[in-house]
């Protein structure tokens, strides 16, 4: 149902992770909406963000920002990721003033998003919660890895790639920043937060033991 809903984490690390995205409704307000969706991205680009993308073109760690904006189509879903709540709030204020008419959705800690909305003069319309994981839980990787892999809701960031990055980090082959940004490349929507991944990798590298090569 949602590619940004099930990000795992603690309050401390989720508060560095907010996704603002937009789309229009098929059969309602979709026709010629690409101009407004492009303006949406241009507005968000004014504020400090850590990723941006359109799944039809890719994220900013795959293609350049101008390509992302120029290729926006009426059926696009366009995204930007923020790690700072003040930047989020200011971006939402400008989006409200711009009155683009496209649907705007924010994923993150609900209480924080509601507060940012209140400060921006926006009344939330619909809220979706993640109610957790059920089933054969032995089949999912460690929570620490899930905090990174679930930042790509389409599941394109494999736990094995995260393990490889941790190994590279421990061996000094990559910095944590390089590893975080490399992990953003499989995520075509541009919703992966490389800065949060970097911080999580730094913490994990201290304690992670490898029983695999």
């Amino acid at each position: 149902m949602s590619h940004t809903l099930h990000r795992r984490g603690t309050e401390a690390n989720l508060q560095q992770d907010y996704i603002v995205f937009s789309m229009t409704a098929k059969g309602f307000n979709e026709v010629n909406s690409r101009y407004a969706l492009q303006e949406f991205l241009r507005i968000l680009d004014k504020y400090e963000h850590v990723n941006m993308g359109d799944m039809k073109t890719g994220g900013k760690f795959l293609v350049n920002k101008d390509q992302i904006i120029n290729n926006v189509a009426d059926t696009s879903i366009v995204h930007a990721v923020f790690s700072d709540r003040k930047q989020l709030r200011d971006a939402l204020k400008e989006l409200k003033e711009a009155d683009l008419g496209v649907s705007v959705i924010v994923s993150g800690i609900v209480e924080h998003v509601e507060q940012a909305c209140q400060e921006a003069g926006i009344d939330p319309h619909t809220v979706e919660y993640s109610v957790g994981i059920r089933g054969k839980l032995a089949r999912i990787p460690e929570d620490e890895l899930l905090e990174i892999t679930t930042m790509c809701g389409h599941g394109m960031v494999s736990q094995h790639l995260v393990r490889q990055m941790l190994l590279d980090l421990k061996r000094g082959k990559r910095t944590a920043q390089e590893a975080g940004e490399y992990l953003a490349t499989p995520c075509v929507c541009g919703v992966f937060n490389p800065q949060r991944a970097q911080r999580l990798l730094e913490e994990l590298a201290e304690v992670w033991c490898f029983d695999e090569v």
Binding site: M1, S2, L5, H6, R7, R8, L14, T24, A25, K26, F28, N29, N32, Y35, A36, E39, T75, I77, A98, D99, G101, V102, S103, V104, I105, V106, S107, G108, I109, V110, E111, E114, I122, D123, P124, H125, T126, V127, E128, Y129, S130, V131, I133, R134, G135, K136, L137, R139, P141, L146, T150, H154, G155, S158, H160, L161, R163, P186, V188, C189
Partner: protein
Amino acid sequence: MQIDANKCVGCGQCRPFCTMGVINFTRSGKGTKVHCYVDEDECVDCGICYRAQVCPVDALHQPLYGWPRSIRGTFSNPLAEHKETRVPGRGTEEMKTNDITNRFKRGFAGMAAEMGRPGTGARMREAEKVFMALAKLGVEFEPNNPLTGLLKDKTTGEMNPEVLNEKVLSAIIEMIIPLDKVIPVLETMERVAEEINTVFSIDLVARTDEDFSVPTARIMNENDKWFSINGKINLGLGHMNVKGAGVK
């Protein structure tokens, strides 16, 4: 996905990208690594190993599979667009455009079981178990969801038998129910979860009340049910007069 054994040099660069962890090494009689191969039965055709462009000899190859194998790619590769919904990915527009479509009205909730998420993948036979358990409650499955289109009988939750062995990265069982059904649906999901060989993630959607409180949060709290601090909010900024839409 397949790997051309005549081209592959066995460097293993593609292996960590595999979302299912099913790219393995073949070994010689002496046990040394020779080349990589994909366990095609376990592969979900998400295509990320190919798109990562790490193969130095272009040995990765995505065959054009026919029915029913073809559903693996459409559910697993986020670049594939479902013909029915024209939405890339696995679900529908759901709450993302609720400010326009009013799909989730006051008094109702949207619920979903995202089969195979996170990162485990699911055979359709596992999805069928969840479908059948929920069908007994009389819920109506979202008609525009591509997974619903694979049902043979929407009242029993039986799926087309041709697809039961197909494996996808994730697929979403989606429904709209009255608010008083939230807990029975959730508890049914929890019961059937004990019978499946995969995992699913649960979504819960509701339109805010007039005072902007969230009725589903209230229901979950009253029944001591856990939900994440994390969620997704539609800000209600959408309308029919999209800026610039009159531009030719």
